[in-house]
């Protein structure tokens, strides 16, 4: 599949971190296998293929088979990482994900590549913006959304050591390293990127960087915005959301996903029943038009400026 290859200094395609990490893990643990659907190149698994040819199982263009096979591999004592474009992995094979992975509770790691609108111009069939809504109700699948290369590597290592189904959602969009002092990977915990008291920006994946930029811009106009990197959506860090609601009184969620049923949905469900505060959800409202990733972000306000504007709106909705 073709997609824009943007190369800029200081930016990393998280697929490289994924590929390096899974190669290393496989060298240490013979149980690790990778299952793909003609997606060796798009998953950057050329190196893995060379080093561990017998542990790369390419079922061809057959996603339902791919996920079912992974459940079988887990039954056989292997630790399968399924790596495929997230649109097909979660959409095409949804029932296999539900019945064979989640319901049967097999130790399968689903790695969704090129998620969100990474395949911009290729259109909604290739976008993966419904995946959160599809997988969230399968609540024994942990949904992990790394924001940068470091977090990607940590998430893959964590998934290998964790017993149970996991969905790791990766992008192909080059991103900078998140600037947080003394980072430690804590599965299921929101990461405080920046503290603040007027509003909380809760973001995941590619959007964390934009949220951090928006918070810096807001500071210049005297608004103090907290930024949380919600790197795990299931299980959700409810304590962090409760504190955000209490301490800042308004929340904006930002995700490269459909606004229905994803991170924003999870935060809104929790706040509505436990900590009612204004919540503004940013993302995509449904199928999007043709366009590059950059154009789509801009068109749907997924920019530092758009986030800052929405933050002001959320603050304006606070009860006096």
């Amino acid at each position: 599949m073709a997609a824009p290859a943007v190369k800029q200094d200081g930016l990393h395609d998280c697929r490289d971190a994924w590929a390096r990490t899974i190669e290393d893990l496989a060298a240490q643990d013979p149980r690790i296998v990778v299952v793909v659907n003609d997606s060796v190149g798009s998953s950057k698994l050329g190196g893995f293929q060379k080093k561990h040819a017998d542990r790369l199982i390419n079922v061809g263009i057959a996603e339902q088979n791919m996920v079912g096979v992974s459940a079988g591999l887990a039954n056989g004592g292997r630790i399968p990482f399924v790596s495929a474009a997230s649109c097909f992995l979660t959409g095409r094979a949804l029932e296999q994900v539900k019945a064979d992975v989640a319901y049967a509770n097999f130790n399968v790691k689903l790695v969704g590549q090129s998620s969100g609108v990474a395949y911009g111009e290729l259109g909604p069939t290739h976008h993966s913006i419904e995946d959160f809504a599809w997988l969230r109700p399968l609540n024994n699948i942990s949904i992990v959304v790394p924001a940068d290369a470091w977090e990607t590597a940590e998430a893959v290592k964590w998934a290998a050591s964790h017993e149970g189904p996991v969905y790791i959602r990766l992008s192909r969009m080059p991103v900078p390293d998140l600037e947080v002092a003394d980072r430690k990977f804590a599965h299921g915990k929101a990461e405080l990127v920046r503290d603040g008291s007027d509003v909380t920006l809760i973001a995941c994946g590619t959007m964390v960087h934009l949220a951090a930029k928006a918070a810096a811009d807001l500071e210049a106009e005297g608004i103090s915005a907290r930024v949380l990197n919600m790197g795990t959506i299931t299980p959700l860090d409810e304590a962090a959301i409760a504190s955000a609601a209490h301490e800042t009184g308004a929340i904006v969620t930002i995700e490269e996903a459909n606004i229905h049923g994803g991170l924003g949905g999870a935060v809104a469900e929790y706040t509505a029943s436990s900590e009612p505060v204004p919540v503004e959800r940013m993302g995509f409202p449904g199928f999007v038009p043709t366009g590059s990733v950059e154009w789509l972000f801009d068109h749907f306000g997924l920019t530092a400026e758009g986030i800052a504007r929405t933050a002001r709106k959320a603050i304006g909705r606070k009860r006096a």
Binding site: M1, N58, V59, G60, C87, G123, T290, G291, H299
Partner: protein, 273 residues
């Protein structure tokens, strides 16, 4: 028109489609030129030698239907629809641009002549099957054509549909397999082999024809409906070359979604004459 004239027209249209599609990919910096070029002679033959349609009435009930199941090859589909008169040529310049009707994968809500949305592989045959069943239920005379990739046939949905089509004896359904023997990353046979493909379809209750998918005369013969029609669905295995027509692209897997540089673009246009 004599058969010779028809074949000549098809070859001219196919040449125009290859040149135009390659420039679209060059301009967009995106696309799937390898699979465009293996499919273009088939699509040109359908639109200029086989199918009944009126581009002014794209919804006409009795039209023959064409489903592009290998929806990534929009360079081939869009140039074919344009040549057939469904939309003006300048629309091709918007390929993959923001808010274009010419998305990377076809959308029936944007473009006349597109029968259904494709892009995820393995969707076209079941939809074509439904169209053919609708025709059977209403005693309609239209034919339904669906073009798949060969790697695409690794998707189980194709075989579910193939089984139903065979059981229902859908003589008005024709599946054309673009048998270029390559998929995205490498060869079909080294990924998850399909051979013997003809025997598989026969076992599912289909008639099977093997043709050279770049030989317009052979395609015209295989695609013509015999007097009295058929009693089984027809699978045409079209042996093709991915990247056909441009020396440096032929049979090279990386041209699946390769994008030419300026020099390659010029060289290709020099060869496509």
């Amino acid at each position: 028109m004599s058969t010779n004239d028809i074949a000549q027209t098809i070859r001219e249209k196919a040449l125009w489609m290859r040149r135009r599609a390659f420039t679209m990919v060059f301009d967009a910096r995106l696309g799937h030129p390898g699979g465009d070029f293996s499919a273009i002679d088939i699509i040109a033959t359908l639109y200029f030698g086989v199918m009944r349609y009126d581009p002014k009435k794209p919804e006409m009930a009795e039209r023959d239907r064409f489903i592009m199941s290998k929806g990534h090859a929009t360079g081939a589909l869009y140039t074919g629809l344009c040549a057939a008169g469904y939309f003006p040529e300048d629309w091709l310049n918007t390929y993959m641009q923001p808010q274009s009707k010419l998305n990377g994968h076809p959308n029936r809500n944007y473009l006349p002549g597109v029968e259904t949305n494709t892009g995820p592989l393995g969707h076209g045959v079941p939809v074509a099957l439904g169209i053919a069943i609708a025709g059977q239920l209403t005693n309609a005379d239209y034919r339904t054509f669906v073009l798949t990739g060969d790697g695409e046939l690794q998707e189980g949905s194709n075989w579910e549909a193939a089984m139903t089509a065979g059981n229902r004896k859908l003589g008005k359904l024709t599946l054309i397999v673009d048998r270029n023997r390559l998929q995205q990353g490498m060869g079909t046979e080294e990924t998850n082999g399909l051979d013997p493909l003809d025997d598989k379809f026969r076992a599912f209750g289909w008639d099977v024809e093997m043709v050279d998918g770049h030989d317009v005369d052979a395609l015209l013969t295989a695609l013509s409906e015999p007097a009295g029609g058929r009693t089984k669905p027809l699978c045409i295995i079209a042996n093709t070359i991915k990247g056909k027509g441009v020396s440096f692209m032929e049979n090279i897997a990386s041209w699946h979604h390769g994008v030419p540089n300026a020099e390659q673009h010029t060289t290709a246009l020099e060869e496509l004459i």
